[in-house]
């Protein structure tokens, strides 16, 4: 059920400002792809174009195509809501719905997408998703308590459970560990290893060790100067990017000789 993603000649704008210029990439199904690069280079922006979250910001728009198994998600007859049902997302800061219990947070996607689900079915998916996010054992006795009462790492895993509960094909993660301590980070990284057997995963990270640990392929984004649009410098096997990158700029960034 995981799908392949192709970005083709993407130009991404915020209003008139060109934030990312001419980016093309291919992401294989059932793999982890990491986006790395300095702040402001547009890696999160590119990530958000993959599930059409970019256009939620007023004035933001995209030129080019993103194909999901060959289907352009920016085609005229495609509803962004359907795209987001297929391509889930986990954000930088854990953002469980504060008015909802742990159970309702996980069930939120299914309930709010419409379509009737009976209680038994819902219970099953909630448990399965929480197990999938490696959180079930910690919360099974307090499913009706508020999701916001959990620790930061637990909240992030709750958000992952919420995202996988709607059974997406692809999971986008925007710096999912940057607000977490090392132990919670490890828990999420382990989880990513399990999730990639089912989903196509794209993860944005500032932590190069993390990219090296979890991903099979890595894309390095950069911007040539402040105010210039970001660009994709190179994308290759993670091992190659970190040991023997083709581009000088990648090597400089990886080895810390940046800027």
């Amino acid at each position: 059920m995981a799908k392949r993603i192709d970005g083709k000649n993407l130009n991404i704008y915020y209003g008139k400002f060109l934030a990312v210029e001419d980016v093309s990439f291919t992401i294989a199904p059932r793999s982890v792809t990491a986006f790395i690069g300095p702040s402001g280079c547009g890696k999160s922006t590119v990530l958000r174009t993959i599930n059409r979250m970019h256009e939620v910001i007023p004035g933001a728009h995209v030129e080019g195509e993103v194909q999901l198994d060959g289907d352009n998600i920016y085609a005229e007859n495609v509803d962004p809501v359907d795209v987001r049902r297929t391509i889930g997302m986990v954000f930088q800061r854990p953002n469980p719905f504060p008015t909802m219990s742990i159970y309702d947070n996980v069930a939120a996607g299914m309930k709010l997408q419409g379509g009737r689900k009976n209680k038994g079915e819902l219970d099953g998916v909630v448990e399965q998703s929480l197990r999938g996010a490696n959180l079930w054992e910690e919360v099974k006795d307090r499913l009706n308590k508020a999701g916001s009462g959990l620790s930061g790492g637990q909240q992030q895993r709750l958000c992952i459970a919420r995202a996988i509960a709607v059974k997406p094909q692809v999971l986008l993660m925007d710096e999912p560990c940057s607000a977490l301590d090392p132990i919670s980070t490890l828990a999420i990284e382990d989880l990513i290893q399990t999730l990639k057997e089912t989903y196509t995963i794209v993860i944005v990270t500032h932590n190069m060790q993390q990219a090296a640990r979890v991903s099979e392929r890595t894309a390095f984004f950069n911007l040539s100067a402040t105010g210039r649009p970001g660009e994709l410098v190179e994308m290759d096997e993670t091992e190659k990017i970190f040991s023997n990158p083709t581009d000088k700029r990648t090597e400089d960034y990886i080895s810390g000789r940046f800027g």
Partner: protein, 311 residues
């Protein structure tokens, strides 16, 4: 071996921290005394109204009888007609105002762009500043002068709508702005359409605040007097019909009792003593109004608490 320790310059440290402490104390005193100054009138007002009004409302029949056939010379009677009138007028006003105001607030925060949003904000600002008597005259001009209707309770409700809407729009707006964008994005990312995100995620998150706004709005209009005088008059008799005839109301009753306050002399232990029956009833009506607004406040808080998920 002796270690040489250089002590920090003591005078400098002493003076800066001394000055800082002084400023801190000064600010604390200012803030605390301002609080006390602000609270004094409130406590005083509550004390006055309760001490003068309590025996009127605890008397038999206050909540069940009207002021029918009772003049300033007579003791007794109740505020039933006034409570009923105020309740009906405010209820109709709320039924019209609350949905409109919340939808306007949602529009301004979640959808509003460009000239329509700017114009709406501007209009709400103007409405906020409209004196109640102007709203009442407007309704009178439209429904009585132009359409030839007669004065009745529902016209009061319409005038109150103009006063209530801006209050609720403003609070709804503020509360919706407080909902973090991350929650909206989290919902969109689950493939939830925008309208459902607003209905099921954004509004419930802002629910408590909006509820407070509604109570504020009700409190604002429940004590309005000008629209009553212009649009429905006052009747000491019970009239539950919003669409026909004069109607009692709590502010109307206060006003009526003040207007006919005259004193009555009665003999107590053989000596004449002045008694103000009307004044008692005036304080009673004022206390009743305060109790109703406070009760609404408590109810709102209880509802808010019931809707909260516990940690």
């Amino acid at each position: 071996m002796t270690a040489t320790v250089t002590a920090p310059p003591p005078t400098l440290a002493a003076t800066t921290s001394g000055r800082r402490k002084f400023k801190n104390n000064l600010a604390t005193v200012l803030v605390t005394s301002s609080f006390v100054v602000a609270v004094i009138p409130l406590v005083w007002l509550l004390y006055t109204v309760i001490s003068r009004g309590l025996h009127a409302i605890t008397r038999d029949g206050w909540f069940t009888r009207s002021q029918r056939d009772i003049t300033y010379k007579d003791p007794g009677g109740g505020a039933y007609h006034a409570i009923l009138g105020t309740f009906e007028q405010v209820l109709l006003c709320s039924i019209i105002s609350i949905p409109i105001a919340i939808l306007v607030g949602v529009y301004l925060v979640e959808y509003g762009r460009g000239w329509l949003a700017r114009t709406t904000t501007f209009m709400v600002d103007i409405l906020t500043g409209i004196p109640s008597i102007v709203a009442a005259l407007f309704i009178y001009a439209v429904f009585v002068t132009a359409f030839g209707g007669s004065r009745a309770g529902w016209l009061v409700s319409l005038a109150l709508v103009m006063l209530m809407i801006p209050v609720i729009v403003r609070t709804t707006e503020e509360m919706l702005k407080l909902v973090p964008n991350e929650l909206r994005e989290a919902s969109y990312a689950l493939g939830v359409p925008k309208w459902k995100t607003i209905l099921r995620i954004v509004l419930p998150t802002a629910f408590t605040g909006i509820l407070t706004g509604i109570v504020l709005g009700i409190a604002r209009v429940a004590g309005e007097t000008a629209p009553l005088l212009i649009l429905v008059g006052y009747s000491p008799n019970t009239n539950g019909n919003l669409f026909n005839g004069f109607q009692g109301s709590l502010p109307g009753m206060i006003n009526d009792q003040v207007a006919n306050i005259g004193n009555t002399r009665v003999l107590v232990n053989g000596r004449p003593v002045s008694i103000h029956y009307a004044a008692d009833r005036m304080w009673g009506a004022a206390l009743t109004l305060i109790i109703i607004v406070m009760a609404l406040n408590v109810i709102a808080r209880l509802i808010a608490r019931r809707n909260k998920v516990t940690n």
